[in-house]
Amino acid sequence: MKREIPLLIVGITGVMMFFQYYVPTGWSTELFVRSQDWIIVIGILSLPLGIWSLLNANVQKLQKVKGERFYSAVLLIGFLVMVLTGLRRENLEAGSVHMTIFSTVLIPIQATIFSLLAFFVASAAYRAFRARSVLATILLLTAFIVMFRFIPLGPISTANLGAVAWILSVPNMAAKRAITMGIGLGATATAIKIILGIERTYMGHD
């Protein structure tokens, strides 16, 4: 029963949601709205699990792992401060402690980490972007043409509009569509296998 009941729930829900999507009636809309509530309820139930796991792992590190104590302490303090300062809805408005920490700590940290990519990209381009073969040369030239299109260089950016439009809408699109269709077919096949109970790895075992 431990196996059959979850499979039955997944199968029935999958078929119901499939028909709900393709049969837009009052009944199916009501079903969709109800399912929204269920998704939120399930999401809320999983939240304490995630929080417990995060806190537990970092408290363990704080007590036992010498080299990582500092990072765990930062995480735990940050977690507690953000939770306590954000408990009330009024604290989500500009000027509150919660929003001040968000805009003066989190935003700069995230933006800084992401901006480091520019340095790695420049370094990687220097080492990898070499015309070692015919294919590499084609890639290099194509990259140059497209790159010039997306840099704000005034008339130079628009001089190669036709070439870039062709690259983007013929070879690029052919490859992208092939990949997208492959992903779509794969996702559909996996969804059907899950609904029919063939694919069971989501339950933690075959």
Binding site: L106, A131, S157, S169
Partner: protein, 279 residues
């Protein structure tokens, strides 16, 4: 080791230094670069410009602070354009860290254009599960967002009276740095058929041009260049125009490094008398 070999083995810290200077110097000096408007950005501008005062524009700001440098200028330019034309705006964010940024931008612009929250625009807030939220908004905005970001029931907001779902807005502009663009395409445009445009980071641009040709998107604003183009169209220079200068210099440096790298590569190969081939 000769100079060519040294160039081939250039320490990455020199590259980091050059890129750093390429960003810092234009920021200090401050100069403008010419911005030529591309058709895909012009179409977004025309679309917003054709919305009559009092009609609705839906803007999704689905990005985190990681990409705010590219996407905030777009958001500001579009919102400034819509506010200046007295259009009603409904804003959501489907990104976890989006609400704080949306709050900052909308509050600042609302003051600048003398707009009132709940009357001229609504910020519905954030909900997880983007695809489901988009599908639910197609039924009724009140399904995923019974209250707005500030806890006010949507029915009590004057701006939300008489507006139920996507059929009541003229179109949707999604500013995104992730796969929510795919969800807006499939679950939004595909399911409900509303006109959709996207503003995306520069690296994502090539991935989404296929949807322009298919007609699923009516416009794309790609990266800082797109933001600068939009700012030039609305004649309100902002961060997009400023950052375009940094981008030109940084890209030029990267292009220069690629040229140096290839020059060193070919010169070294010729010297060694090797015949080139795929490796």
């Amino acid at each position: 080791m000769g100079i060519l070999e040294k160039m081939m083995q250039l320490d990455r810290r020199w590259i980091y230094l050059a890129v750093g200077l390429a960003v810092i110097i234009p920021a200090i000096v401050g100069f403008r670069v010419p911005v030529a408007v591309s058709p895909e950005v012009k179409r977004v501008y025309d679309f917003v410009n054709d919305i009559k005062p009092g009609e609705y524009l839906f803007v999704a700001m689905d990005y985190d602070p990681t990409t705010l440098a590219e996407l905030n200028p777009m958001a500001e330019a579009i919102l400034k354009h819509a506010f200046s034309r007295n259009e009603k705006i409904v804003i959501v964010t489907l990104a976890q860290f989006g609400p704080g940024m949306v709050e900052q931008i909308t509050n600042g612009l609302a003051k600048e254009f003398n707009k009132t929250r709940g009357v001229d625009y609504a910020f519905l807030g954030y909900r997880p599960y983007p695809a489901i939220t988009i599908l639910a908004m197609g039924v009724d905005f009140r399904v995923p967002f019974p209250v707005d970001y500030y806890g006010v029931p949507l029915d009590s907001l004057p701006v939300m009276r008489g507006i139920k779902n996507f059929y009541n807005v003229k179109g949707v502009i999604d500013l995104t740095a992730g796969n929510t663009a795919d969800m807006w395409l499939v679950d939004g445009n595909g399911r409900y058929g509303f006109p959709l445009a996207i503003g995306i980071t520069g690296v994502m641009a090539a991935d989404y041009y296929q949807y322009l040709q298919s007609g699923q998107l009516f416009g794309i604003i790609p990266g800082i260049k797109g933001a600068a183009e939009y700012e030039s169209l609305v004649n309100m220079p902002g961060q997009g125009m400023a950052q375009a200068a940094y981008q030109v210099v940084a890209h030029s440096v990267i292009i220069m490094f690629i040229i140096i790298s290839n020059f060193a590569f070919f010169a070294t190969r010729r010297r060694r008398g090797q015949v080139g081939g795929a490796r």
